[in-house]
């Protein structure tokens, strides 16, 4: 049986992992490759790496750090941040990533999803979306709106319509980032996660808000997600106590959520 995935998310600034709250006030956690090596030893299922300032600074992604992390992890590795062309996707894959995450750039140019899927296969393209609850209104029938540029800019696009368009264009996975819950340790936004999981037939990743094992379990059951992104719970200095991957997975097993078994 296919198991649920626990994914560690790195928000990287200048080669270092940071931790934000609602997409702001990033505090330093440590060098990306050191954290990657530690999490690989701890048997994390996957790592997602966002170069979070590349897009705003209008520069290319930090390939050197991508390469350094890729040398440490022999589990899947997704990279995103400011990727705007097929050539840039190619460079990131050649640096050792398996999957490319597109977000704000895909909103500006949705065709990048189609081009990426055609060149590298659907499984290579993760459509990551920043969603905020704004209430049902004309143009936003689901009540969730898509935001871009580090949650700073509203797009007027409905979140559910956007992920369906993304799936049609060729996205192989949809990552649902709740702006309201990001870094709050109050649990994923289960309502929008479930709505996305029901609206598409590709795997859905829950993101934003996990602070306890219960939250992760909820995202993977009630939320309908195939994978859960965690970061605070692993290493946020804002939490009194961080958990290891093994502890998290044992907690999930106890709640009836199967994940990749521990390998001695």
């Amino acid at each position: 049986m296919l198991t649920k995935r626990v994914i560690a998310c790195f928000d990287v600034i200048a080669g270092r992992v940071t931790k934000a709250q609602q997409f702001q006030d990033n505090i330093d956690v440590g060098p990306a490759e050191e954290l990657a090596a530690r999490l690989y030893d701890d048997q994390i299922d996957e790592i997602i790496f966002y170069d979070i300032t590349a897009s705003a600074e209008r520069r290319k992604i930090d390939l050197e750090t991508v390469r350094r992390v890729a040398r440490q992890v022999f589990v899947p590795f997704t990279v995103g941040g400011g990727i705007r062309s097929l050539d840039e996707m190619f460079e990131v894959l050649k640096a050792g990533a398996e999957k490319i995450s597109v977000d704000s750039m895909a909103v500006r140019d949705p065709d990048i999803i189609r081009q990426g899927a055609e060149a590298f296969g659907r499984q290579c393209i993760v459509l990551s979306t920043q969603m905020k609850h704004v209430g049902t209104r004309p143009g936003i029938p689901s009540g969730y709106e898509v935001f871009v540029d580090g949650a700073r800019r509203a797009t007027g696009m409905d979140a559910i319509e956007w992920v369906q368009q993304g799936e049609t264009l060729g996205a192989g996975e949809i990552c649902v980032n709740s702006i309201d819950r990001d870094g709050t340790h109050s649990g994923y936004d289960l309502r929008v996660t479930r709505a996305v999981a029901d609206a598409v037939n590709v795997p859905v990743i829950a993101s934003g808000g996990a602070g306890t094992v219960d939250h992760i379990a909820e995202g993977l059951t009630e939320g309908g997600a195939s994978a859960a992104i965690i970061s605070s719970i692993l290493y946020s200095p804002r939490l009194e106590r961080n958990l290891g991957v093994r502890e998290i997975k044992e907690g999930l097993a106890a709640r009836g959520v199967p994940t990749r078994p521990w390998v001695d």
């Binding site: 995935r5 590795f77 398996e98 499984q123 990749r260």
Partner: protein, 205 residues
């Protein structure tokens, strides 16, 4: 020395990094001369069967690959799309494969989320040097929308379930291939790569 075939849609760097971690000498190969001289070959793969076949054709390595693997019998490992292109034909874009193994490649039923992405249980159906020291069930990392259906059941070395039971490792003589990404399947995947590196190409343990 392991030659890892490098083509545009491939993820050869990930395979090279994994071999580096194991301390195994490897290099990228993208010319017919390199392939013809290889002692041991890995065909990694992401993307689609059609794009992979087109890339290999463009590099001009198809004949050298067949001669070296089918003719000279050097040990060969295909990964993911590198497994799917070994068969006669893929439903994905109705593409002709290398035709080293009899059978076809089909799409998963839509009753499941497609692509399959994640860690799934691999269960070998017989002993093989590739699986030496590995448990009777191991979770490995899969990313695939299509799966191979070998005509000869003897070509199936391991199976996995995703809506259907499918062939997750194919093996015939000096050719082995994993549908999962061995280079991304943690320490068990690395063990499999190490086994491949010391394999003489025969199927006896």
């Amino acid at each position: 020395m392991i030659d890892v075939i490098d083509y545009r849609a491939g993820n050869a760097p990930s395979v090279i990094y994994a071999l580096e971690r194991l301390g195994l000498p490897s290099r990228l190969a993208s010319t017919p001369e390199q392939v013809a001289a290889a002692e041991r070959l890995i065909l990694p793969g992401v993307g689609s069967a059609g794009a992979t076949m087109a890339s290999l054709r463009e590099l001009g390595v198809l004949d050298a690959l067949s001669a070296r693997v089918r003719g000279d019998g050097v040990p060969f490992l295909g990964i993911c799309i590198g497994l799917q292109v070994l068969f006669e034909r893929s439903e994905e874009g109705d593409v002709r494969g290398l035709d080293w193994l009899a059978g076809n490649v089909r799409r998963f039923p839509d009753s499941q989320r497609v692509p399959q992405i994640g860690w799934n249980a691999v269960r070998p159906v017989r002993a093989h040097p590739l699986w030496a020291g590995l448990p009777s069930e191991a979770h490995c990392y899969f990313v695939n929308s299509f799966y191979a259906v070998p005509t000869d059941p003897a070509d199936v070395l391991a199976t996995t379930e995703y809506g259907v039971e499918f062939c997750s490792i194919a093996a015939r003589a000096n050719v082995v291939a994993t549908q999962f990404h061995a280079e991304k399947s943690g320490q068990l995947g690395l063990r499999l790569l190490a086994n491949f590196a010391s394999w003489d190409g025969s199927s006896s343990c």
